[in-house]
């Protein structure tokens, strides 16, 4: 056996390679493996971040390469933080983020709980429910504009059927009071299945023996739900909230297709606002400062959240 292994060695590692790297320490080998990854990380993440911070301190405009670039210090940051339009955009994002998370967690968990039960057609229903998240956001945005159409839209007709109001009397994406809810509804429709799948994984990871032990202790269904199901799926739920929270903080395509940020600026989320500043108004320095502020916000919130998630897991 020993002979066989020895005789195979040269075939596994070419002689030249072995000679060249013979005597490398573990640390050197480790660097050899992670070096390319670190290089790529620096090149495509860290360098652009540092460059963005640098640009944020200037009045640079990417559409005027011939113009002088002046150092403006923290002026861009000051302008952003005192701009009421930016705060309106933050509010719109917060409204969208909070409501989509609340609805997706509640509905997603509910669906997962139901799908977790054994019943005929379980697999078929699971497939049907996850269909929306397989579609392109641009396609979803586009066809929901038709569903929301006051004269021919199915959504308006369903609401009219249930409430008795005239279907053409309200416009989901043209009314300042309804448009923020219109985008929440579509995102919830599309991404609740994702939350459901994560919750389903959590529910299926709970051993049956725990429920059997609870049955022996004569714990009620309600008590089993609150003391076994919820705590044991909580880390999964929190993970789903983290994923959806980060995704929805940078939401762009779906909302652009649906409302274009309107009516007015009521659904102009920060990512849409940032894109307009950067690539329509071409205020590159200003947009860089805006991006840095958003990055710090997301990074800070995500860090706090991940710490909380780890604590929940440790319990």
């Amino acid at each position: 056996m020993t002979d066989e292994t020895t005789s195979r060695s040269p075939a596994v590692a070419p002689a030249g390679f072995a000679r060249k790297y013979r005597g490398l320490s573990d640390r050197a080998v480790a660097w050899l493996f992670i070096g390319p990854s670190i290089f790529l990380l620096l090149a495509i993440n860290i360098f652009p971040l540092i460059w963005t911070i640098r640009l944020s301190l200037t009045n640079y405009r990417a559409n005027r390469t011939n113009a002088d670039v002046d150092w403006v210090g923290l002026r861009n940051y000051e302008r952003i933080l005192t701009d009421p339009d930016i705060w309106n955009s933050m509010q719109a994002t917060a409204h969208f983020l909070i409501w989509t998370l609340v609805l997706q967690v509640l509905i997603g968990f509910g669906l997962a709980y139901l799908i977790n039960k054994k019943f005929k057609g379980n697999d078929l229903w699971t497939t049907i429910i996850v269909l929306p998240m397989m579609l392109s956001p641009a396609v979803v945005g586009n066809f929901w504009t038709f569903l929301y159409q006051p004269q021919i839209g199915l959504f308006n007709y369903v609401v009219a059927f249930l409430s008795g109001v005239d279907p053409s009397s309200f416009s989901m994406i043209g009314d300042v009071n309804l448009a923020p809810w219109a985008i929440v509804i579509v995102d919830t429709w599309m991404w609740t299945p994702f939350v459901m799948l994560i919750c389903l994984a959590g529910l299926r990871s709970i051993p049956d023996s725990i429920y059997e032990a609870a049955e022996c202790d004569r714990a009620s269904r309600w008590r089993q739900f609150w003391t076994i199901t919820v705590p044991m799926t909580l880390p999964f739920l929190m993970l789903a909230v983290l994923f959806r929270g980060i995704e929805n903080f940078k939401m762009f395509d779906l909302v652009v297709q649906l409302t274009g940020g309107g009516p007015g600026s009521i659904t102009e989320l920060t990512s849409i606002n940032l894109k307009r500043e950067a690539f329509e108004k071409w205020r590159t320095g200003y947009a860089s400062a805006y991006a840095v502020i958003l990055f710090v916000t997301v990074f800070g919130l995500a860090s706090i959240y991940v710490k909380a998630l780890n604590k929940v897991k440790e319990r």
């Binding site: 005027r64 011939n66 043209g174 009516p263 007015g264 329509e280």
Partner: protein, 440 residues
């Protein structure tokens, strides 16, 4: 035999040497994706046959056209050899060196700007404006005008009802006040078993829609971009009483007389609304008109055309659209691109361009005696082109445009604040931009 062979080789070499400047190139022309672009593809086949060059085309849908093409120009991209860019790009493209200056070429080839409609030369070619510095050849004249359902207007029962209600005949409106009466008359009216609405107007938020539509009205109500006596002095001109009245009118028109769900509509939504028989009137650029003539629902004489009506004081202007064709300075095939412009400027090519649905800007075509009768909309196009005004063409036009989009949509569609507040805010936004540019 050998000498014949040598002579043949020598002749071929000479031929190649002399044709060095006419080397066959593959030119790429960039434009928006719309009907006129398809017509240009057909027209350009003549150029390919005559010149030996081949043509490729890069067409981008209107909502993404500016984003895509300005990115291309700003990054010094070589994708486009020829660019039919929007009129507002001329300032930035000239100052940032994206376009080749064409004065020497025009002089050498005998192309005279006086041969083109004056407004198109100013709008599409000149930078700075009203100076003889040319960066493009006027390629496609366009202007915002109106279409109406002539067949509905001619119905005796509607004519009688309208006359009884408004005391005048149902016909093409001469003023915006009359236009509003007509739209109110048709709003939610039953025609042939369908509910129809007054008008389709521009309300799009994302690119330039609501600005083009509202400005089309505001000009005739007294809006001016700046003090004619002092550049960039906007107070009282952008937000004067006339401009405020104009913006209030546009909001009233949106609220009273457009189909439900018209909160984000631009050119294509207008075309759909008109062709489907949803509206009696439609605001849209002239490029859409040939499509109505050939449409099964609204063609065959059912559609009429009229110039933007006059405002309360009789002033009458219209929003300029259209584009000039430029040579991109980053192109490696500038000689061949200039050949294309030389070919395109010829009167017979321009005449064919008009026949194919392209709106020629050459006076030899538009001032020909038979031009007004050449198409049902020809006279309206000519009359509209005589009263055009255009948005800022400054290098910062995109910032100025986005600020306008936001202010107008916030007031007209979202119903936030007053027209005075919207226009006061616009003056503040524009002032800040011009201050950043060092122009104030």
């Amino acid at each position: 035999m050998k000498s014949i062979g040598l002579a043949s080789v020598a002749a071929a070499s000479l031929a190649v040497a002399f044709s060095g400047s006419a080397k066959a190139e593959d030119l790429t022309l960039c434009w928006a994706s719309w009907d006129p672009a398809n017509a240009l593809v057909e027209l350009s086949k003549d150029f390919e046959a005559e010149s030996g060059h081949s043509m490729s085309f890069e067409f981008v849908p209107w909502p993404n056209f500016a984003d895509r093409m300005l990115n291309e120009l700003n990054s010094g991209g070589k994708l486009c050899d020829l660019m039919i860019g929007d009129s507002q790009w001329i300032g930035g493209s000239a100052e940032n060196g994206h376009y080749v200056k064409l004065n020497d070429f025009f002089d050498a080839e005998g192309i005279k700007m006086d041969d083109f409609i004056d407004a198109t030369v100013t709008g599409y070619s000149e930078w700075p404006k009203n100076t003889p510095n040319y960066w493009a050849l006027p390629a496609f004249g366009d202007v915002v005008g109106w279409t109406y359902r002539k067949d509905w207007f001619e119905r005796p029962e509607l004519q009688a009802e309208f006359k009884e209600k408004y005391g005048r005949d149902l016909g093409v409106p001469a003023t915006f006040a009359e236009l509003k009466d007509i739209t109110e008359f048709f709003q939610e009216r039953e025609i042939d078993g369908n509910t129809v609405y007054g008008a389709s107007i521009y309300t799009e938020r994302g690119s330039e829609g609501i600005t083009m539509g509202a400005m089309d009205v505001l000009y005739s109500f007294g809006f001016k971009y700046e003090n004619p006596e002092k550049a960039y002095d906007m107070e009282g001109f952008v937000n004067g009483p006339g401009a405020v009245a104009g913006l209030e009118y546009y909001k009233e028109l949106y609220e009273c007389c457009t189909p439900p769900g018209s909160s984000n509509g631009y050119m294509s939504e207008g075309i759909d609304a008109f062709k489907s028989g949803q509206v009696a009137l439609q605001m849209n650029f002239a490029f859409t008109w040939p499509g109505f003539e050939s449409d099964a629902n609204v063609g065959n004489g059912k559609t009429g055309y009229f110039v933007n009506p006059a405002g309360p004081d009789g002033e009458q202007f219209a929003q300029l659209g259209g584009q000039g064709i430029s040579v991109v300075s980053y192109s490696d095939k500038q000689d061949a691109a200039l050949e294309y412009i030389k070919w395109f400027a010829q009167p017979d090519v321009q005449a064919k361009w008009w026949e194919m649905g392209g709106f020629s800007c050459l006076k030899a075509v538009t001032l020909a005696p038979d031009f007004p009768q050449s198409q049902p909309y020809a006279q309206t196009f000519l009359d509209s082109m005589a009263i055009v005004k255009d948005f800022w063409a400054e290098p910062s036009y995109a910032t100025l445009l986005q600020d306008t989009q936001k202010r107008f949509h916030d007031y007209v569609v979202a119903g936030n604040g007053t027209a005075q507040e919207a226009l006061d805010g616009l003056v503040r936004d524009w002032t800040e931009t011009f201050e950043d540019d060092g122009k104030l």
